[in-house]
Structures are given as structure tokens and as C-alpha cells.
């Protein structure tokens, strides 16, 4: 009886899943909100989104590592209570044990299952051969290149013959060529049905990678993480990146990923409060991108996928950059396109000192946090203020990591704009000395 129901049920089904991160003081921080997902045998599903969209969190919930705040996670029709035996994971950082050889690393999942030595060695050997690691059995991970290391990660996951293979940004730590080889090798094995798995779910921020490998893509939006759209990829393997239909799909996904942000792109009305998360983007990169955008061949307008390709950026690197420029009023971000504004042109044309002045005005106008810091400093008799209070206030609205990142960013921007100085040792903001004299 059990057997029958289990086979009929999907591999994984997630219903109304929500992951919130409880804060003592104020509202909960919501990482994932109302996510639904069903995974059938025989498909490759991609979770695509920016960093912070909760896609890795969802992967960990599906793997049984993390318990969602609310919602239902079923594994083969049975509620999941811990790491499931039929799930194996491949990590972005490879997560290999540096003190174990390739063979010992691959064996570890079998050891955990208590598989006898003879069988263990046989299965390890065949997994190593399948994934193209033959001859490397006795090497240690640190002797291998990144690509070879991730092959070990794959072999380690495959050797336990999982029903579901979970991959968390498996190729993002690799260089372009190595990543491409690994992707095609994996897809080839999948098409030839040589992989001892029923289904694959992968997390990625690389749009092309998702379109290249997956049968189905769930595009996530950020803050809180939600499934913005679900897309079927209609192309047969092997897929051609230069096929116009392929390119169109990549373009469309870029559009989806930037769409929700369009309303906030009004330059003069920052829909941003004091506690907006700031992306840690250096002023050099902003200036560089504005200069590129203003100059030929873009002349002020660029298509994000094309710009990303030309600058060798990935989607999740370029998007925050575009959003930041848009928040500061230097550019407009709409439907996957970036347009420079007058303020942006003025900045590009200015000299170093003038740029700093423009940036200072922009910060005061568009970044409430920077304006607040400056206001507090102006009001204080000694023109000093501890950064701890700002950090605490930020932490009421975002996770400690984001609060830290936001504070670092506002320090760096403020230093560039010469709005205030910061003493790392004392954790204190202050006004520049000579400025006091002028007052």
C-alpha cells in the first residue's frame, strides 16, 4: 500500500512555505513568503533569482536541513522531518573534506549509511569513473583544480544513488570555460540516463545557465522571496546559446527580474526609508559603469544582458549596480534596460572634486541614512556620533549581516563624498576638522 501511494506522489511538494527570521524588537524579516513547488521525477528544475531572494533557503528546506517557519514540505508523500535519505547535495564551495582523499570524500555518504567495505569501494569506483575522475582516487582536494573539485562534489552526491540531486550554485565558483564543460558533461550524462538520479533541482543566479540546463525555471523576486514567475523551457537538449529563441528567453527573464523594481526608479522621490538595504558598491564601479553607459556604443542606453556580457558580469552582479544607480538618480532601470539621467551625465562630465560635491548632494537627497548621520553630526556639539546606534536601528529592520553591509556602504560613500569621517577603532562618525572652522 505504502509503495503505491509513494510512487504516485511527486518527489517533493512544498505548500505555502514561509521562512521568517524572528526579531525581538519589531517585525519579522521574511526570507521566503508563500512559496509553492512540486517536483516530479524526470525533470531538472532551476531556482533562479538574485542573492537574498531566498532560493538557497528553499533548497535547504527541501533538503531537510532547515525547518520552515510555516508551511508543509512533503518528501514522496511523507512530511519531511530531517535530511532525507534519498537526497544528496552539491555545494557552491564544493564542501570537500580537505583531509580526505578523493576516494574517501566520495565514500563518506556510503559510510554514513553503513554500506559494507566491498560494496562501498565498488560503488565509489564507478561513481569516480562516471564523473571523469578516474586516476585521481588518491589525490587530496587541494591538489585539484576547481573544476576537478566540483567533480568530486558531484561524485560524492551521485554515489549514494539519490532520488533527488540538489545543487546550490554548483558552477558559480568556477571559471567560465570550466563551468561550461561541467554543465555539458552533466547534461550529457542526464540525457543518456547514466546519472543514478530521478530528478535535479538547482539554484542559480545565472540566467543563461538556467535556460541552458533546466526543464522548468522558477524566477524568484527579492524581499521577501516569492516565486515571481514559473517558466517552461521548451528547447530540446543539446541547446544552442545563439539560437534566437534562446536569446529571447534570456532577455525575457532579465525583464522579469527587473520589472518589479521599475516603480522605485523615479529619480526625485526616493521610495526608500531610513532602513533601505544598500548594496556594497564602490563609487569607482559606479563611475566606471556611468562612463561606459554614457560613451559609445551605448550613448546613454543599454540592454542589461548585452551590457553584462560585454562587461563580463553576471546578472546578480549587474542588477544591484543598476538598482543603486537608479536609487541615486544617476540612471533609470526599466524592463531590463538601463538609461542614464541628466544627473548621471553631469557626474560623468565633472572633475574629481566636482564629482565628490555632486555625490554629496545626491547622498543627502536620496540616501536617508547618510542624511541622518550628517544631521546628527551637525547637531552634536562635538560633531561626533557612535555608529552603534545606527547599526542597532538598522538591525530592527534587517538581518545583522545586511545591517553591517549597509553601514559599511554608507561609510564608504560618505567618505568619498567627504560628508563625514569614520574612525574604525572608536566606531565613531565625525565631521572633518577644517569644515568645523568654516562653520
Amino acid at each position: 500500500m505504502d509503495q503505491v501511494t509513494n510512487i504516485a506522489a511527486p518527489l517533493v511538494s512544498v505548500r505555502n512555505c514561509r521562512q521568517a527570521y524572528h526579531k525581538d524588537a519589531s517585525t519579522d524579516l521574511i526570507v521566503l513568503d508563500d512559496v509553492n513547488l512540486t517536483l516530479q521525477a524526470g525533470e531538472i528544475v532551476g531556482l533562479l533569482g538574485r542573492s537574498g531572494s531566498g532560493k538557497s533557503t528553499l533548497l535547504r528546506i527541501v533538503s531537510g536541513l532547515l525547518k520552515p517557519t510555516s508551511g508543509e514540505v512533503m518528501w514522496r508523500g511523507v512530511p519531511l522531518t530531517g535530511p532525507a535519505p534519498g537526497v544528496a547535495m552539491v555545494f557552491q564551495s564544493f564542501a570537500l573534506f580537505p583531509w580526505l582523499t578523493v576516494q574517501e570524500n566520495v565514500e563518506i555518504g556510503l559510510e554514513a549509511q553503513g554500506v559494507k567495505k566491498a560494496e562501498r569501494e565498488e560503488r565509489t569506483e564507478s561513481a569516480i569513473d562516471l564523473i571523469g575522475l578516474g586516476g585521481y582516487d588518491t589525490a587530496y582536494p587541494k591538489e585539484l583544480s576547481g573544476g576537478m573539485r566540483q567533480r568530486v562534489g558531484l561524485a560524492r552526491a551521485l554515489v549514494v544513488h539519490p532520488d533527488l540531486l540538489l545543487m546550490d550554485e554548483p558552477f558559480s565558483a568556477l571559471d567560465v570555460l570550466t563551468a561550461e564543460t561541467l554543465r555539458t558533461d552533466l547534461i550529457d550524462l542526464w540525457m543518456e540516463k547514466k546519472l543514478p538520479v530521478k530528478s535535479i533541482m538547482m539554484v542559480t543566479h545565472n540566467i543563461e545557465e538556467a535556460v541552458l540546463m533546466c526543464d522548468r525555471i522558477l524566477v524568484f523576486s527579492s524581499n521577501p522571496g516569492r516565486v515571481a514567475q514559473e517558466l517552461k523551457v521548451p528547447f530540446a537538449h543539446p541547446r544552442n546559446r545563439f539560437d534566437p529563441a534562446f536569446r529571447q528567453m534570456v532577455d525575457d527573464i532579465y525583464g522579469i527580474m527587473t520589472r518589479r523594481k521599475a516603480p522605485t526608479a523615479q529619480p526625485m522621490t526616493p521610495a526608500t526609508g531610513f532602513a533601505t538595504k544598500l548594496h556594497p558598491i564602490s563609487t569607482n564601479i559606479m563611475a566606471g559603469l556611468l562612463e561606459t553607459l554614457e560613451g559609445p556604443p551605448y550613448d546613454g542606453h543599454a540592454d542589461l544582458p548585452a551590457l553584462a556580457a560585454a562587461l563580463q558580469y553576471e546578472a546578480d552582479e549587474l542588477l544591484p549596480l543598476g538598482e543603486t544607480l537608479s536609487m541615486l538618480g544617476f540612471a533609470l532601470l526599466e524592463e531590463g534596460d538601463l538609461h542614464i539621467t541628466d544627473a548621471g551625465r553631469k557626474f560623468v562630465d565633472a572633475e574629481t572634486e566636482e564629482r565628490k560635491e555632486i555625490f554629496a548632494k545626491i547622498l543627502l537627497a536620496h540616501v536617508p541614512l547618510a542624511a541622518e548621520i550628517r544631521k546628527v553630526l551637525d547637531e552634536r556639539w562635538n560633531h561626533r556620533a557612535s555608529s552603534v546606534r545606527f547599526r542597532d536601528e538598522l538591525e530592527d529592520h534587517m538581518s545583522p549581516e545586511y545591517a553591517e553591509e549597509t553601514l559599511r556602504t554608507v561609510i564608504s560613500w560618505g567618505r568619498y563624498a567627504e560628508l563625514y569621517e569614520y574612525d574604525e577603532e572608536a566606531q565613531q562618525f565625525s565631521l572633518e576638522e577644517d569644515e568645523e572652522d568654516e562653520d
Binding site: 532547515l66 535530511p83 573534506f97 580537505p98 559510510e111 587541494k142
Partner: protein, 576 residues
Amino acid sequence: MPSFAAPALASGRRMPNRWDGIAMLLVMGLLIGLVDVGRSTLFTPLLSSQATTIHLNPAYLPAYALRTTARMFAALFASLFFTFTFATLAAKSRRAGLILIPILDILQSVPILGFLSFTVVFFLNLFPGRVFGAELACIFAIFTSQAWNMAFSFYQSLTTLPADLVEASKSFRLSAWQKFWRLDVPFAMPGLVWNTMLSMSGGWFFVVASEAITVGNTSFALPGIGSYVAMALAQKNLLAIFYAILAMLIVIILYDQLLFRPLVAWSGKFRFETTASTATPDPWMLKLIRQTRVFQAIFDTAGELVGNIFRLRLGAGASVQVDENRKPSRVIDAIWYAIIAAVACYALWRIIGFISGSLHWSDLGQALLMGCYTMIRVTVLMTIAALIWVPIGVWIGLRPKATRVVQPIAQFLAAFPANLLFPPVVVAIVYFHVSPNIWLTPLMLIGTQWYILFNVIAGAAAFPGDMREAVANFRIRGFLRWRRVMIPGILPYFVTGAITASGGAWNASIVAEVASWGKTNLHAQGLGAYIAQATTAGDTPKIVLGVAVMSAFVIATNRVLWRPLYAYASRRTTLG
């Protein structure tokens, strides 16, 4: 050259809080408990079976050396067992960690040499009339000199396990036992081996000091090098002392070459790094083991056996989801705090009861004054040692050839039990009739100054090549070079060495501020002498007071001087 921050330092930013106070109470209460058990037997007559005759004939020395070494290793295994259990408990249980870690921190700073007499009597009491009790007491004394920093190092490794490896262990469903041997222990290995080496170095000092003990009118001598030296001192036999030094030298060379060099090199395999670092040549012993068939066969078989034990699927551990929303139960927390508070109050009550009966405020004043004397000694010595060893260490560290020669020698010297070198100095003081107040002082730092030297060498050797080129290119020389480049560059390393050296000096003061040669007794004014004299007189309350005051001095120096300095140095002198 491997270099790890002293465990006491890495927890640098932890400010003193109420847990430290509670831990101090618990530790002192525990020691007083030991005293109470011991006191009842202090004046029972000595059993004849415990009186072992020590022969000064050098032919006995190899056997003595062997027994001394055996005690060392027995203590080492006890320390390892303690490390694996205590530190694991502290790391895995938040509630246990809250109190266990401050206790460990206090224990590190207690001059356990001062409590030797009580642990001895305690163990003799456990096994009355048997040498076994005395052996256990000696091993326990060595254990107390080894265990704390090993446990600290292991605890720190456990709290900094790489998150992805922890996740991988969980997702592949390793059992708790498997995870411990596959992840926890290997990850901690380099730091643990290094700290074990430091512990062993400290241990030789204690084994020599604790083999022959006199408390009140109880005394015993276990066959070993320490007792041999004690006997030689009593009989004014300078030649025998030189034999003992020679024997110790050989023992330490053997232990260093056969065990620890290979072990440290081997533990490099567990270094958590993603790139292959430049290979340093294997020590000859490791090469021998790796390249000889017989050794290989032995180690492979042993590895297979041990591997099977590590593979046992004991403990569930991994089959539970992480639930970030689950709050720890307030009720259990409250009960736990209440238990700790009750035990601490009981300890406080016992301490007050113990002290109020026999001590006055003037005794505390006296102990504090003595503490100040010893403090002055330690400060002057550290300054002199820094002035001597920092320039020499930098000079050596910047020259790779010199570093390769000197570094092992400095580490070796740190292991040599300095108390064996005391007698010649004592003889000289007696002969020249100079002031023991001044001339006994250098003995405190004889053993531990090497920590400063080899840490400074390591720091200078790790100085980045491009920065050295920049210094040469901008012609930064002389005082400017020291002020702006060298001293900031080696500061974290210097502090690491200095904290070990100064802590060791305090401890050594208990044996260094009093000395005897035949019937002549020398003693300097200081807290060490205060404790040592109270021990000889069997005046237990004064010993407790002396030890408590000394702990307070050591903890205060660490908190006020070394930790902030280390935190400052590592913040300021590292990029990123």
C-alpha cells in the same frame, strides 16, 4: 612555521562579566574542597612503602628518565580525553558552554604549582599507603599544566567549523560519532597538535617539580629525574645535577625528533586551506615512516582498524532539521541558572568559612604586597627579554637560512625544563653571597623567554616579501623602520609569545623565588616565595590566599594588558 594564537587571546574581545566571577568562585571552591579532603590526612604519618630511595648513580638515570616520560604521556592521554569531552560539551551545549568556558579561562590562569601539595594529599588519600596514589598525584599535576589550553584550542575549532562542511555532514547523514572523527577532530588537528606541543613543553617543568614533594611533615619521592635532582640538591652533588641535565637533554631531543616534529608536519595535512602551500621538507622521522615498507604496513593496518571505529554509526545527531525559529526554553534556562547560582553561593559560603576562621585583612594586604613585588620582577624581566629577543628574533626571522637553524632550537629550548638549570645559579649565588632578591629573579624567565623568541622569529619570517621590498625601496631605515614597520608587523606574534612567557613566569615564581643548596635556603620577597613557604609550613589558608591573589594578578594582566593589546595588534596590523 606553524603559528597559532594562544587560545587565551583569541577570545580577546570577551569582556569580563558575571560569568567570570561565578567561574572564579567555582574554581576556588573546588580547590578548597580538595584542601578539605586533604587536610584531614595532612598529619597522618608516612607509610614506609611510599619512601622510595633515589640513587644518585648515573646508571639509574635511564630508568628514571623512562618513568618520567611515561608519566608525561599518561598525563597527555588524560588531557586528550579531557579535551575531547569537556570542549565538545562546552561547544555543543549552549547552557554548558556559558559556565564551562569561563571556568576554563580561570583555570588557565591559576598557578597550579601552588596547589600541588593538596592534589598530592588528595590522591594519597584516595589510595592510602600505595605508591599508585603518589603516581596519580604527579600525573594529575602534569595534566593540570597541559589540559586547559588544549581544551581551549579544541573548543575554538569546534565553534569555527566551516558551515559548508557542517551542512555536508548533515546532508549526507553522518552520525554524531562519524562527524566527530571525520570533521570535528581533523579540523581541530593543526591547532590541537600545536597546543599539545606547547603543553608538553610546559609539562616537563611540572613533572620535574612534582616528583619530589614535601608538604608539612609529609614527603615522598617518585623514581624519576625530578626526584634525582631533588636528591642531588639535598646532597650538594653538582656532578649529579649535570648528569640529570644531560639525561633530560637526550630525552627531549628524542621526544622532539621522534614524535613531535613528525606529528606537526603530519598535521599540516589537516590545515584548512584550499590551495596547496609550498611544501616544507618532511622531518626525517616522517620520511622514514612514509617510505619504509614495514612502517607503512603497520600504519596502514592501524589506520584501517581506527577507520573502522570512526565509521561506527553511533548517535543520531544528523537526522534533525535546523529550526531557526525555535526559542530555547526559558524554564530550563531558569532552572539551569538557579543551579549554577546555588552552587556558586555554596562555594562562596565555603570560601568565607574557610578564610574567616584563620585569616585577617592584614594577610590579604601582605599577599597583595608580595604580589606587587613579583609583579615588578615579571615586568622588569619581560622588558629585558623583549629588548634582547625582539631585535635578535627579527634579525633571524628575516633570514630564511638562519630561521631554519634557530627556530627548532628555540622551540626545543622552550621544552627544556628550566628548573633543572636552577641549581648551578643557586650555587653561584651562595658562592658569591649576592642578593637572592635580584639574582633569583632571572630563573623565572629562563624557561619561558623562548616563547618570545620563536614567536618573534615566526612573525618576522611571515613578513610579506613585497612589503620588505617597499621598505627597501623607500629607504626606510633605523628608528623609523622599527617604529613604522617591524614592531607593528610582529606585534601580534610578540603578544602571543609574551602572554605565554609572562604567565609561565608567574607560575615559575613559586619554584624560582625559593631555592636551597644542601642546608642553605635562599628566598626572595615575593608571592611565589609566600606560597612556597606556606606549602612547606603546611599553612593551607595562606596557600589558598596566595594562589587566589596570584590568579587575580595573572587574570588582571591578561585582561588589562595582553588581550586589548592583541586585539589592537590584530585589528591594526592585518589588511582586510
